[in-house]
Symmetry: C2
């Protein structure tokens, strides 16, 4: 299949390479031409604009930073919509505001372009190992056409609902992982400041209702003082900004998410933005220590 | 062994009965004599005061509501300390402030009485099924003497550290379970208000880093609208009060725990104190709905 891919960063590059290895012809455009170097040895055509990519592809993937980037690539000057052939499917795998996804989907639909939002969890490791969790929103028949491509990229692929529903699921995931990291960091700092062996607490708690993948995996990394990303604090900050934007729009009270969003703000402000989000523990330690 | 047991409520009664069934002779006193009725058919001696219980026992268990109750039973007029034989071990299985546990332990030590704090998780079901998780603090040699009795009551028994360390681990457990319940409730309300199928979100998220026993078990109960306790909201409110007392004493910043404690306050204020703590979902719904 002729597949467009725009957004060849840490996540997008290995994903696009998996699609090429699966036998598809790639059509690429990148803001920074250096991003294209990794594709010298695969079947990839380089193009001068998103519009030109769209003119050659049946499906185009985007994996960019935020909603304005998706809008620019999809609907801007020389954007995908201006070059699209009839029946083009645009699959946005970026993490953006669910309501922005619905609006972009609506504008594309008005121009005869199908849209699927399909954000992922699993991070760079998941992208490299093709083990991403993919949460999709869109029409079922469009999803089924794209599903074989998703299965090249991830190990768990779910159609959650209509356009935007993938972003809603991703936002829920970021609530649970963000608040979950904070809960473990708070508990560990509480135990440490009480001069109790944190490792024993973790082991005892894994046997009961406090058990979670975050306590097991990230908890061990906190004990090892391994704050290497992984998932960077500034990325989690951005994802919780989306959650809090939606809380504001819908009049939703999300107190634990709000406290967590503030902690990510403080991590970025404290120079920990490039650390893994589990460096939240370091922030809490810093805020309760005279050193 | 001659074993004292004081605090024969929902948790204490089945625990004491397990010890009797394991062949131990019970020595009981209760503020409310009705609590003793369940022991008519086991080998149990009824006494007129905690002091009298202590005079007949090698180990005395307490399972009461809060620190002042432990203090009154242990150190008050006609308390355990005033009747204790040399070498008595007092095992407090209540959930109380860790620092209060250390102070009670210190006062008992000064009177020649050994102290173990051993709060539990697993709730009434765990007490009835003898499947509690027991988190203990105290001297290792004292713990080893009591361990066979713990193994009658629970399936996971851990010595976390010195006196108070069991309460620290329990406080950490209540941080993780309380904040964890709020995170799931916030995510579910977020998805529902976005008109997305919450059940599909839960299933998709269980495959990734958001996976937890709370999302799996309590998440399903939220979907089933099953708010029957379980663990009551007012009990979780009390346990997070302990956490926040300690945060104040130690100068610890615990933002997610603090937001969660406020939500439990609001649940009790909204008449949901006797519901399970997962009724937090109902509170969030109520706060973001015009109905």
């Amino acid at each position: 299949m002729n597949i467009g891919f725009i957004g060849l960063g840490l996540m997008g590059r290995p994903m696009a390479l998996h699609l090429a290895k699966a036998g598809h012809r790639l059509h690429l455009w990148a803001r920074r031409p250096a991003a294209l170097e990794a594709f010298a040895e695969v079947d990839a055509a380089l193009h001068a604009s998103p519009a030109e990519v769209a003119a050659h592809a049946e499906v185009v993937f985007t994996m960019v930073a935020d909603a304005p980037d998706v809008e620019a690539v999809a609907l801007g000057a020389e954007g995908l919509a201006s070059g699209a052939r009839p029946g083009l499917v645009l699959v946005d795998m970026s993490t953006i505001n669910p309501n922005a996804a619905r609006q972009i989907g609506g504008q594309l639909a008005a121009r005869g372009i199908a849209f699927i939002d399909a954000p992922v969890s699993g991070g760079e490791t998941g992208a490299i190992n093709a083990s991403l969790t993919i949460m999709a929103g869109g029409e079922p028949e469009i999803f089924e056409r794209v599903r074989p491509l998703f299965e090249v990229l991830g190990k768990s692929v779910t159609l959650i609902g209509g356009v935007g529903a993938g972003q809603v699921a991703k936002a829920c995931n970021q609530i649970l992982t963000g608040v979950g990291v904070m809960a473990v960091a708070e508990a560990f700092n509480f135990a440490a400041r009480n001069e109790v062996d944190v490792s024993k607490v973790r082991t005892a708690l894994l046997g009961g209702f406090a058990a979670s993948r975050i306590l097991e995996n990230h908890g061990q990394r906190m004990l090892d003082r391994n704050f290497k990303p992984g998932f960077k604090a500034w990325m989690h900050q951005k994802d919780l900004r989306i959650v809090m934007e939606e809380a504001h729009r819908l009049g939703l009270m999300l107190p634990a998410s709000a406290a967590t969003a503030q902690l990510f703000n403080a991590m970025v402000g404290s120079g920990m933005g490039e650390d893994d989000s589990i460096a939240a523990l370091k922030l809490l330690e810093k805020m309760s220590s005279a050193e």
